[in-house]
């Protein structure tokens, strides 16, 4: 019988079962980025002049910016001229009904386990399907429209609801915010748009499923969610990509706006292709996600389960501007083999009595590196603000790393911040105990890891908690035994 250490070295590696490609005829731009490419992209999407100008301004900002270097994750320089900035399955028109969708694309989503239809397992969830650079379908639109809820692709929102898009786009993540946000603002292709009107409680989960299919492209989606006064919405995104030897860049921007008494719950199950056992290929997941609690008593809650991507580099954040507003961040980040993650959150307390809660669970196996980086900033105006942060790391094997980098800046004496951190290992005792009761080693690891993450998993909507649980097991397959 091999020891756990030996078996960790012999990591067998799990199969990434979402790694297939779909043979669709596609339209795409040749690689490269300049002002002409942006004008063509904007024209192709029949955008109004203000948006074209907005993109160009972002592009000019981006050209003057430099790639940041403070992160723990390491990767070779990215050649932004080698990327194609638009790829879309060819379709004469966006299908008017779900029946008109290209059968190949339909089959793709069937294989991914999220069939494009308004029935059965997805009955309680409305889904926007984004395939490479465009949204290909949105379910349950009519039902939502009856309540005044707008749920569509952002391209459609630009055409149909320009006043809302113009008012809020870039209001939380300005184009010049950071290097990748500027790039995204210049070239974003599609993504989801949600508006929930005053006092409406969205009766179903809204979900976007992102799929990168084409090779040599990047995905730059943009999501904008606005919850008007007293409204509630729960939103979930899922993502997968084919297995490719090259690295693919995914640089999204997500903006959330919650007005007085509104609540937005945003959940992510991220399973981009992580690369192979030797670290070849995999998606670079460099994302800017930020929510603004603009109103009093507003609440924004981020829940993320990050199992995929070669590199995950993101900090879903909350700006707590309204008095008594609440921000939450629940995160599970799993890294195996050569994956790297540098993730966490920022909680910016501006309003009085604002509260934030951070629960981060990092799990590192193989030769991976897992960093929690978080900022809690309490401004002078944030009388009576409170924060509680809990960061737990779990190590599997001897060759991985876990790091916790908390930044706490407090400018108001009445504020209270608490920070707890633990690091533990899956012990031989625990594994043996499970196995002695008949549970296989793989299942034992999944069981222990799921237990370690339970606080976060409990925050996920029911429909996805099951999927996320399975995903944790799959991601760690071959990490021991």
């Amino acid at each position: 019988m091999a020891t756990a250490i030996e078996t960790v070295r012999e990591v067998t590696g799990s199969e990434y079962k979402y790694g297939f490609t779909t043979p669709v005829e596609e339209e795409r731009f040749p690689p490269g980025l300049d002002e002409d490419v942006i004008r063509r992209l904007s024209a192709r999407k029949q955008e109004p002049a203000w948006l074209t100008e907005w993109r160009l301004a972002a592009y000019r900002r981006w050209r003057q910016m430099e790639m940041p270097d403070w992160q723990k994750v390491k990767f070779p320089p990215i050649d932004f001229q080698a990327i194609s900035y638009f790829a879309a399955p060819k379709q004469k028109q966006r299908p008017k009904s779900l029946d008109e969708i290209d059968p190949e694309i339909r089959r793709t989503y069937d294989k991914l386990g999220i069939p494009i239809r308004e029935q059965e397992i997805l009955a309680g969830v409305a889904v926007d399907y984004v395939f490479d650079s465009v949204s290909v379908a949105t379910t349950f639109k009519r039902k939502l429209e009856e309540l005044g809820i707008i749920f569509c692709s952002i391209s459609e929102a630009v055409r149909e609801h320009p006043e809302l898009v113009r008012k809020y786009l870039g209001s939380v993540v300005p184009p010049g915010d950071n290097f990748f946000a500027a790039l995204n603002s210049a070239v974003f292709s599609d993504g989801s748009f949600v508006y929930v009107p005053k006092g409406v409680r969205c009766p179903m989960e809204l979900s976007t499923y992102f799929r990168i299919n084409a090779a040599g492209t990047g995905q730059f989606e943009r999501t904008l969610i606005i919850a008007d006064e007293g409204s509630y919405v729960s939103y979930l995104e899922g993502c997968t990509a084919p297995m490719r030897d090259e690295h693919q860049l995914h640089a999204a921007v997500v903006e959330l706006i919650a007005l007085d008494d509104a609540e937005i719950k945003y959940s992510t199950v991220q399973n981009w292709y992580p690369g192979d056992r030797e670290g070849r290929g995999g998606v670079y997941n460099f994302v800017t996600k930020r929510g603004l609690c603009r109103g009093k008593r507003a609440k924004i809650s981020w829940t993320q389960v990050e199992t995929g991507s070669a590199i995950t580099w993101k900090y879903p954040s909350c700006i707590l501007q309204g008095d008594d507003s609440v921000g939450e961040f629940y995160s599970v980040a799993v890294t195996n083999h050569h994956q790297q993650a540098d993730t966490g959150t920022k909680m910016i307390h501006i309003g009085k009595r604002t509260r934030s809660r951070i629960v981060s669970k990092g799990i590192a196996a193989g030769r991976s590196d897992n960093t929690y980086r978080g900022l809690v900033r309490i401004l002078r105006s944030a009388e009576g603000a409170r924060n509680h942060t809990q960061c737990d790391s779990l190590l599997i094997g001897e060759h991985c790393g876990a790091h916790t980098v908390p930044y706490i800046e407090v400018e108001n004496r009445t504020a209270r911040c608490e920070h707890e951190a633990t690091t533990s290992k899956i012990s031989e005792d625990q594994l043996f105990y499970c196995r002695q009761r008949g549970i296989s080693e793989e299942d034992a690891v999944a069981l222990i890891v799921n237990g370690f993450c339970r606080e976060v998993m409990n925050e996920l909507p029911m429909e996805f908690a099951v999927e996320a649980k399975k995903l944790l097991g799959i991601s760690l397959e071959g990490s021991v035994g």
Binding site: M1, T3, A4, Q436, I439, L447, G451, F452
Partner: protein, 251 residues
């Protein structure tokens, strides 16, 4: 025979602990192994269960028709070997009953049986828990997390009752138990005695054997079984103490 151990030698970190143990247990029998601390009793339990780090250097163990030493720990469990541990481990975030159901289903699956229904499982678990004096709250808590010593031991017996092993090894289950808990645990074991099930009770004290009356008692000293006899052997040990007993053996 259900279990046949022949000339078993085992080392831990290169140090020989078991030095030629032979033992045979027939279905329906209860055997006790007594011995002073450090005599190798717990090592024998871990070798039987297949724990990593316990290296068998010589000898064989047959379990029914199978070569036990060739099996992984989970395969041994599925074949019907249960080890009630001296120090049950805590697994945070994993519910006590959830864990037990996972274990039961893993064993049932390996035997070609269907998964037990949630309702049937709950009924069985609650019934057995009540008999063992395990409160509802303990069933809902995380596995062994914050359990007292006695609660952990009762919980081991609860698992044993639901997993229905062919051979149950109890490793110092009496340690840290007060007299009431000891009686409850012993009753739990006695309820499970059946013609096709055997027990190997490892203990330092004779006390437990007043409640679980063994068919055969072995005395282990320095990695070997030095004497085998009936229940009277346990009483003799209790009266004379290990030192007196060892002195007599040496003489």
């Amino acid at each position: 025979m259900l279990l046949e151990i022949e000339n078993l030698h085992a080392s831990v970190e290169g140090k020989p602990i078991l030095k030629g143990v032979s033992l045979a247990i027939a279905p329906g029998e209860v055997h006790a192994i007594m011995g002073p601390n450090g005599s190798g009793k717990s090592t024998l339990a871990f070798v039987l269960a297949g724990r990593e780090g316990y290296e068998v250097t010589e000898g064989s163990i047959r379990f029914g028709d199978e070569d036990l030493l060739a099996m992984e720990p989970e395969e041994r469990a599925r074949a019907g070997l249960f080890l009630a541990m001296q120090y049950p481990v805590e697994i945070p975030g994993v519910g006590n009953l959830y864990f037990l159901r996972q274990a039961l289903n893993a064993i049932r699956k390996a035997r070609g049986l269907e998964e037990i229904s949630a309702a049937e499982f709950m009924r069985k678990a609650r019934e057995e828990a009540r008999r063992l004096g395990i409160g509802e709250d303990l069933l809902k808590r995380d596995l062994n997390v914050g359990f007292s010593g006695g609660e952990k031991k009762r919980n081991e017996i609860l698992q044993m009752a639901l997993l229905e092993p062919r051979l149950a090894v109890l490793d110092e289950t009496d340690s840290g138990l007060d007299i009431d808990a000891l009686r409850t645990v012993a009753e739990g074991v006695n309820r499970m005695r059946r013609p096709d099930r055997a027990f190997l009770v490892i203990t330092h004290y004779q006390r437990l054997l007043e409640y679980i009356v063994p068919d055969v008692v072995h005395v282990m000293v320095d990695g070997r079984i030095r004497r085998t006899g009936g229940p009277e052997l346990a009483r003799e040990l209790e009266e004379r103490g290990y030192e007196g007993f060892l002195g007599r053996l040496a003489a």
